[in-house]
Structures are given as C-alpha cells and as structure tokens.
Symmetry: C2
DNA sequence: GTCTATAGTAAGATAGAC
DNA sequence: GTCTATCTTACTATAGAC
C-alpha cells in the first residue's frame, strides 16, 4: 500500500523515517490514546532515539496533528465529487447508488491505517478540535449533504418516494454509525466482521423498501 | 442530586471523601481521558494529598473501574423492567411508547455525571473491557432486545406494521447513537442542544409513519 | 484517614558531538 | 539526521508519624 502522508503545510512527506514515526504513532495512539503512548514508545518502535524524533516533529502534538491532516484527506476520498452527483442520479438506481457508496466506504475502512485512525478519532473526539471537526464536517455533514443532493435528484426523476430528502439522508446514514463502531471494535479484537456486512445489506434493503424501491 | 456510588463489591460508598474523589476523577477523565489525568490532578481538585487517595482506592485503575461499575447500574435504569413490557404494549400506542422512552433517556443524559461518564466511555471504548461491555451489552443490545419485544407485541395487537421486529428495533434505535454523540459534543462545548430535540422528534415521526402509525 | 517525605520510574524536550 | 547525555518535571505508589 503506497500512501502519501502530508505535513502541516500540506506538502507530501518523503522521509522514510518520518513516515515510520507516523505509522508507529498511529499504531500506539490507536491502542492507548495520545496521552497513553509516549514519545519513547514511538521511537522504540521505530528504532531511533527520542532526540532524533524532534528533527522530524517539533513536539508530540505535531505528530497527532499530522495524523489528523492525513485522515482529513482520506475522508475526502470516501464520497464522489459534487460534480458527479448529477451523472450518478441519472445513471444509477437507488440500490446501486447505496451499494456503490458502501463499497467505497468499505475500501476506505479496510485499510488498516484508516481503521486505526478511526479509533484515534473516537478517543480524541471530545478533546481535540481537529478530531471534532473531521467527524462533524468532514464525515457526518458532508455525507448527509451528498446523500441529500442525490436523493433530491432521484425524487425529481421518480426513482424514489417523494419525501424530504434531508430526512431520508439522515435516516439512511445515521444507523451506519453504530455499525461502524461495532466494525471497528470487532477489527480491534481480531474477530470476524461477517455479521456487519449482513447488517449493512439488511439496512439498505429496509431503506430501499421504505422508499418504494423493491430491490 | 443524591447519588449512590458503589464499590467493586457492589456495596454503597458512604465516605464523603471517596465520593469527592470519584466526582473529581469523572470530571478530569471526561476532559483528558484516563491516562491524561493524573492522581495528582484528582487529589488537588479534592483538596487532599496524593497519599491519602490510596486509603480509598488501591490504585488509579480502581477509580476508573468504580466509575464504570456505577455507570453500569445507571444504564440499567434507562429501560423499563422486562416484566412491564406486556403492560406497556397493551396500554400505550407506538408514539407514546417511543416518546416515553426518549424522556427516560433524556432524564438519564441530563444528569451531568452520567454525561461525563458517557464521554469517558467513548474515550475508553477501544481500550477498557468494562467500557466495551457496558456499551455493547448494557446499552446497545439491551435496548434492541427491549424494543424488539415491545414491537413484536404491538404487531400482534395490530398497533403497527407487520415486519421483522428486530429490524424495526435496529432501524429505530441506531440513528439515535450519532445524535447522542452530537448531544454530548454540544454539551461539552456548552452549546445549545435544541437542534437535537428537534432531530429526535423528527426521527420518531418518520419512524412512526413508516410503521403505519400517523401521530 | 490525613499528613510529610521519599522512592523509583517515566515523561517531554534540548544541547552538542559526529 | 543520528547519536549520547542530560535537564526538568511529572508520574504512580509506599512508609511511617500523628
């Protein structure tokens, strides 16, 4: 998996050591939280001395911020660009659209690094402004907005029931959040997530049915 | 607000100092997480020396465990006892039942201490076995089970649409979780939560409507 | 059950040689 | 950009007097 981390000025990170530090930090923060994992733990994992870390990051906080900056970019990739929504509403039916969206999201969440950062997000949600902002605006709000636009266009085209598209967007999307939490919990325990896939399929079917679409 | 904390052997805690320690810990853990708040921070808040704390708790971990033990008991109070469900399904209609349930839950969540412990729960969810267990079994599973039973009985009585009651229970309950997260976020920021109440009302109305009940 | 005192470890971070 | 060495502070926890 080739990945492009970025620094706080949005420039790609080339240094292999800096990347190793980031990935060790992601691993440790996701298991013990930011304050539960020390700079010493991180550098031990990487195989450098503590003092060397400070050539790459000005302090411990900057590591976390860099992780969140990367994750914001990753979260952006989950949804299709706004310019495509017209095309999507034109060419796809409701169930195709929802299933495609889930596939996209699963691809995002099957990445081990993203998964770990999700866990860091939960841990830091109430404390760190970037975690809060990414969750609220980068994920929840953006997704609702995207769904709302597509649903509105589909309603126009008679592809689904006539109802407030924003309400539909919320009712479709919100149930997925506790499912994602459970998915992350199962993954962190190394357990099977088959049950989750079934849940998602049932939810899509239920929703489509409510919308006058028989899949 | 009179509250009964319990120790790890389930005995009520009488010592005022021990209670002060718990409440200071709840405050600090909810803001900084378990590993982000030190024993020193807690005792400073209480007004005792660090060494005195160890007369009340054998170590720092035991404080967190005691908090979770209390919360498990609090979570039990959110739902009506299983023996009442027959009566409920008999006497109430769907919307009454859901609204009553939300009032109950709001009463739980309007308690400042419970709110803070919810935040601790999120922070420790991936790390602490008790947090995991309370979330999964004490909250999510228990609520789904309760809803499923009541929905099944209401379907029997023709009070709502004939559908898999478990699916209905999930579709009703799951959307509430991200709403609870947002409620907790807003409260922790000292912001207004009116928007949340409106969300919940709209969700209940939407759900009832899907179930062939016009409220 | 509180205190003072202290042990022993671990934390984040810097100086300066190479 | 890595190292050794070090600083300073903070951490959990215990011993023992009152």
């Amino acid at each position: 998996m080739e990945r492009t981390y970025i620094d706080l000025a949005s420039n790609p990170i080339a240094s292999p050591t800096k990347i190793k530090i980031l990935e060790a930090a992601i691993e440790l923060f996701s298991k013990r939280g930011f304050s539960g994992a020390s700079v010493r733990d991180i550098t031990n994992e990487v195989g450098i001395k503590e003092s060397s870390l400070y050539k790459h990051f000005k302090n411990k906080d900057e590591i976390l911020e860099t992780i969140f900056a990367f994750f914001r970019k990753e979260a952006d990739k989950i949804l299709p660009p706004m310019e495509h929504l017209d095309f999507i509403a034109e060419k796809m039916n409701l169930v195709e659209f929802l299933e495609r969206g889930m596939q996209n999201f699963k691809r995002h969440l099957d990445d081990e690094i993203n998964q770990k950062i999700w866990r860091i997000m939960y841990i830091e949600l109430f404390r760190h402004p970037m975690a809060k902002d990414i969750y609220r605006n980068g994920i929840v709000k953006r997704t609702v907005d995207c769904l709302e636009v597509v649903f509105a266009k589909m309603i126009e085209r008679g592809k689904m029931v006539t109802r407030d598209p924003k309400r539909l967007a919320i009712e479709y999307q919100y149930p997925l959040y506790p499912i994602i939490v459970e998915y992350n919990l199962l993954m962190s325990e190394g357990k099977s997530t088959e049950e989750i896939d079934a849940q998602v399929i049932e939810h899509i079917r239920y929703f489509a049915d409510q919308c006058g679409v028989t899949s």
